[in-house]
Amino acid sequence: METLAPPPALARSSTSRPAPPAWLVGAGLLVALLGLLPIAYLIIVAGSSDGALGLLLRDRTIGVLGRTLLLAATVTTASVLIGVPIAWVTTRTDLPGRRAWTILSILPLVVPSYVGGYAIVAAFGPRGALQSLLEPLGVTRLPELYGFPGAALVLTLFSFPYVVLSVRGALLRLDPAYEEVSRSLGRGPWRTFWSVTLPQLRPAITAGALLVALYALADFGAVSLLQFDSFTRAIYVQYRASFDPTLAAVLALMLVACTAGVLLAESRLRGRARYHGSGGGARRSVTVVRLGAWRWPALAFCLIVVGLSVVVPIGTITFWLLRGLAAGEALGLVLVAALNSVVASGLAAMLAVLASIPVAVLAVRHRGLLSSVVERATYAGFALPGIVIGLAFVFLAARFLPAIYQTLPLLLVAYLVRFAPEAVGITRASLLQVSPRVEEVARTLGRRPGAVLREVTLPIIRPGLAAGGALVFLTAMKELPTTILLAPTGFDTLAVRIWSATSEGFFARAAAPALLMVLVAAISLSLVLRQERIR
């Protein structure tokens, strides 16, 4: 049963596992069913198509699918290689300005990919800003950015924070005892990291990597700006050019099949080991690794990554703003849109965190067919393009629930379906680090399972819950297609404002909402980080 044999002290956990309480199963099933609704819609629509098989088997479709999977694999690998080191240096070392680097390395999540893509093209396109700097040296054109390299670069720059956020949580919860034992047995810091720290981070790394992979599969903005013909772009072409929802549905179902493949791969990778220490919730602070001379390469690494993923987009937006102001454009205030963004994303974040709890508890504490089906079902929404999720809820609500159609609660449900997996992954990884013995002790002291969850388990994993909530908050804030399709009529968000302006070339008017969105994101992140009380 064990693919990775953990030390015996870790592995011996509850042998007689009680059945999960009914309310837990019910809540988990509800979340899973919501997640499966878009797939039900796709099956209904695809069922009415003719000639769908021809489209499925066309060489081009298969080719596009293959290249899209390659893109997802590349982006995921690159994100892990960037995200894990950043998470480590910002949590476990004496790197100067750790808190600032932490915020800056998570901030790219809030940059909409159509803005980020635009900025990268403006900076590094064949005749972008970098080229004009190099012009005196005789460089008339930079090497081709468009296509696979550009799409991989942009997607990596704006999705590696998934790995940072998920891994840093795990690093903060890590029981330092194992590292100390390793050090006292004579292993150096480097070998300790590879043989003790890294294996314990495995669930968190795979949780983050999974989100990156699915994000890369579903993204439309970056791939279309960078001229990469991905599978999601093919789905959009069906909707936009031929107004044909049936063929789009067939393609989207293929994407669902790919997601299933990715999830299967992930469940192989994540292993079956448990990662909790034997102790309780009392945390000792970990020893800080002194970087010494290594601090310079570490700083340079952070600087490059943050420069590309934060400074370049913000610089581009600021340039739009200044250019527009110089030409006499007025600066529009967008406070209502900002408030709407904060309220809708904030509520979505709370809902998603709440929904993640039963799913994660089932998956970690009550392993079995049911719980793994429930957990995987919640991921369906994340890998589907936003337009599919949006139209699925339009279809179902306009027909069957007109009373809630185009209301905020329905929009929140759609956000939940899109973004719950972001919270599920982190909550699950956090829970894996909590010993069930702590809960068993509470049970023997007479607490009912619900009370144990509320009073013991959740407080221990609070940093994980906060991180998951932050993820959902940031990504819901930049969400566009579902918002356009499902928001109450006239409900303006910052993302809608930015898109509405850039799509018609009013770049100056996009600048204020874009900068405001980054500001809101930075403030909320620093609030979340304060909760963690890291040194």
Partner: protein, 349 residues
Amino acid sequence: MNQLRRLLPIGAAMALVLGACTSEPAASDPAASDPASENAETGTVTIYSGRSEELVGPLLADFTDATGIEVDARYGDTAEMANLILTEGENSPADVFFAQDAGALGAVAEQGLLAPLPEEILGAVDERFKSPAGEWVGVSGRARVVVYNTDTLSETDLPDSIFGFTDPAWSGRIGWAPTNGSFQSFVTALREIEGEDRAREWLEGIQANEPSVYEGNNPALDAVIAGEVDVAFINHYYLMQRLVEDPDAAAANYFLTDGDPGALVNVAGAGILNTAENDEAAREFVEFLLSEQAQEYFATETKEYPLIEGVEPDAEMPPLGEIGTPEIDLSDLSDLEGTLELLQEVGIL
């Protein structure tokens, strides 16, 4: 955790309040609206606008000022709004679909979701710019142009016909946006005017020149200004808008003449849904779009071509008569399927 528990009821309450707020206008009594209005039928008209709020928001406000009819506007991409209406079907809360291109209006009309417009609306506009069954009407015109980089080219370097760009001399110098609706309408026009074989010839000729593919008209324009490509095939008003923000942009519009398909004039237009709850207000809105006030707005603010007699386009744009747009009805451009098939066969989409 305590914090989370404290926040939860607040969040739930907020959701309820907001939900209530947003559904309120629909439930409120229409008679309660502005009593100062002279119109008997006030109320609210729900508009699905495929045109951005930046472009037409002020115009919708003008409409409310003029008629006292409140507007509930839902803004989005034209294709997404069309898909929204198609998905909602009979249950659509929309009264009017205000679209950026005729193709999207045609797709909604084809599903039988648009009601025929009254003659007094249809009569205001030339035959070429409305649907033959009268289900939608064009309200402003946008011309296809070749936008070129003025640092590397002057107008005399450009060919007289769109077919001139298939010359290998243009290899690596062209930008286009083949997923864009206006581009696809142009290809449909090309097929109608020149025939299937010539259209394929043109597409293959351009494809052989290895054009850069952009996501839309603005990225293509950016590429021309930056000198990434020398020319791009887009609509005329993108550059005019850009020059407002960036007066030094090194680009100019080139209008093809003599009925060349490259000078096709497309329209933004509107149709009324046959499930419209407030079809009287909807009709007034479409009428308003063809009023002198609104047509002046299109001419001066969005830099499009007005479509009614007596309103002149922006002085910087050549009049429609001068560019000699191809003699073709936009309703003849309904064979989008054929165009998409052709684009896919040639390997462009």
